[in-house]
């Protein structure tokens, strides 16, 4: 998540600010009444709200969803989802991988890295919660869950060997 600055507005609510890489600043004023203001700040005077759009609670939710507020859709492009301190990653099984072709039981990925495979995805379909007898076929995709370091280790094992 990006760093969001939070400022109390006594008697009104809370203001959240986000600075974009391009140097713009956008904000949301969360009123105690449930009303939300979407604020765009001036490029020349970054403290001035040059545009402020009032949204009802419902409209705010809708806009949030459109902007990708729901955690499942958030980072689909890089195939990594963060849920608090858990990471889900889609890893393509490389032919060069030392564990390609092995069954899940043989690969013992969970024991070696701490990360578990929750699904195997192939062109013919996907196997959710695969049993130990399922094979890690090269070219297919393994959906790996764990803390970031564990997922990283599993990705290294499944992907091309680090050179």
């Amino acid at each position: 998540m990006r760093k969001v600055t939070e400022t109390d507005l006594p008697g009104v609510g809370i203001r959240f600010d986000l600075q974009t890489d391009a140097g713009r600043c956008v904000g949301v004023v969360a009123h105690q009444t449930g009303r939300r203001d979407l604020v765009v700040y001036d490029e020349r005077d970054i403290d001035r709200a040059c545009e402020s759009v009032q949204l009802s609670e419902d409209e705010g939710h809708t806009l949030g969803e459109l902007l990708g507020g729901s955690p499942v859709l958030e980072h689909l492009d890089d195939a990594v989802h963060r849920l608090e301190d858990l990471v889900i990653s889609w890893v393509a099984i490389a032919a060069e991988s030392t564990i390609a072709g092995l069954t899940l039981a043989e690969a013992a990925l969970r024991t070696r890295t701490g990360a578990g495979v929750v699904a195997l995805v192939s062109e013919s379909g996907s196997i959710p919660i695969p049993a130990g007898a399922e094979r890690l076929e090269a070219g297919n995709t393994a959906v790996v869950v764990g803390v970031p370091s564990a997922v990283k280790a599993a990705t290294r094992l499944l992907g091309r060997p680090a050179d």
Binding site: D8, L9, V12, G27, R44, I46, A49, S52
Partner: protein, 392 residues
């Protein structure tokens, strides 16, 4: 109905209708209506164009209710916790605001030969900005999202809290006798304020739940009755009715707040107008010329000191120069509290009324205009960028 009663109704009708015209006018020219109600009061009062007689008693009671409703609704915006957090966060801005804006009034009072207690009152008049008028200006100009707005609101909250201590102290001093009995009165009233705030903190939720009712009629009567009772008792204890009403508002929390706001807003608007008119009515217009110079001078000084205190507070919050200017300009408007304070001293110093009325009108109009056009004021270091900005 007897003839006197009819006359009262006729006068009231004409007065409220006149205020309606003022409110429409204010809206058209983009100025806050409250100082214009005060102006209307001046015109209708002693030595004014028309003198109101029959309705004056009623208006006086209405004005009292106006203060109580304004402060109740102000208190509703905050909880005790929020107030404490805010003071902790913005102590410096609050101290700078007091240090810059109390002395001008106090010193002016001494120069004008008022007695020291009245000079302290005049210091209070110049110190306190109008939460009501400023908050409305910010909302009307769509500047709630601006970064400096948090600074403006914090300073206003600290000022309102300062009033919770200031008003009991000055009323104690004004109405106390000997030094000893005055000290005792002040101590008792401060203890009462702290005690009530403590009760509000501990029992606020429960009291709010008891007061809450499905029937909006029952809720309105409960709120109004409870607040008037507490405010009246506070007045009796020299704590000031305004502080009493504010504390009731702070104590209420939860679901009741949004209901209360909706129910009280139209009443507040009516009686706040009556409050400003009444203060204008009390002022003897013939005193105006003799206080005009002093009022202008104090106003000129405090425009600068308020600009400075907003500037300092905003700079500390890391806000750029245009934002600092807006914060300063926003704080210039004075209103309800300045008048509540001035009213305390009218009996001691009759000129204080005329002086405060002129001061509030000048500052509020100047403040509203400055805040509105703060962005078109060219600041030295930004000149080039601004000029370029106009083209785009």
């Amino acid at each position: 109905m007897h003839a006197g009663g009819d006359l009262l109704i006729i006068e009231l009708g004409a007065l409220v209708l006149a205020l309606a015209v003022v409110a429409r006018l204010a809206r058209r020219i983009g100025l806050p209506a409250l100082p214009l109600y005060l102006l209307a009061g001046l015109a209708l009062g002693e030595g004014g164009i028309v003198e109101l007689d029959a309705s004056e008693d009623f208006i006086e009671v209405g004005a009292e209710i106006g203060v109580i409703l304004m402060l109740l609704m102000l208190g509703l915006e905050f909880s005790v916790r929020e107030l404490i957090d805010n003071v902790r966060r913005s102590t410096l801005a609050g101290v700078a605001d007091f240090g810059l804006n109390f002395p001008p009034g106090f010193v002016a009072g001494l120069i004008l030969g008022f007695d020291p207690v009245v000079a302290v009152l005049l210091g209070g008049v110049t110190y306190i900005s109008s939460s009501g008028i400023v908050a409305k200006l910010v909302a009307d100009l769509d500047r709630i999202g601006n970064h400096e707005t948090s600074v403006i609101l914090s300073v206003l909250v600290i000022e309102d809290l300062a009033m919770v201590l200031y008003l009991p102290i000055v009323s104690g001093v004004l109405f106390g006798g000997s030094v000893l009995s005055t000290t005792a009165t002040v101590a008792i009233s401060l203890a009462a304020v702290v005690g009530v705030l403590g009760i509000a903190y501990v029992l606020g939720d429960r009291l709010s739940a008891i007061a809450l009712s499905q029937s909006s009629e029952a809720l309105l009567l409960t709120l109004l009755g409870g607040t008037l009772l507490v405010a009246g008792l506070a007045g009796q204890l020299n704590i000031s009715t305004a502080v009493g009403a504010f504390v009731v508002g702070v104590a209420l929390s939860g679901d009741i707040v949004s209901h209360a706001r909706g129910l009280l807003l139209p009443m507040r608007n009516l009686f706040a107008a009556v409050f400003f008119v009444f203060f204008g009515l009390q002022v003897d217009l013939s005193r105006m010329p003799s206080v005009a110079v002093a009022a202008l001078a104090i106003a000129a000084v405090t425009v600068v000191t308020k600009l400075a205190s907003g500037w300092i507070g905003a700079a500390r919050a890391g806000i750029g120069k245009p934002g600092r200017l807006r914060a300063g300009a926003a704080l210039i408007a004075h209103g309800e509290f300045s008048i509540v304070i001035a009213e305390l001293g009218i009996a001691r110093e009759s000129d204080l009324g005329a002086l405060a009325a002129a001061y509030v009108i000048i500052l509020t109009l100047v403040g509203a205009v400055l805040y509105q056009f703060a962005d078109s004021i060219t600041l030295p270091s930004r000149r080039r960028r601004r000029v370029l900005g106009l083209g785009g």
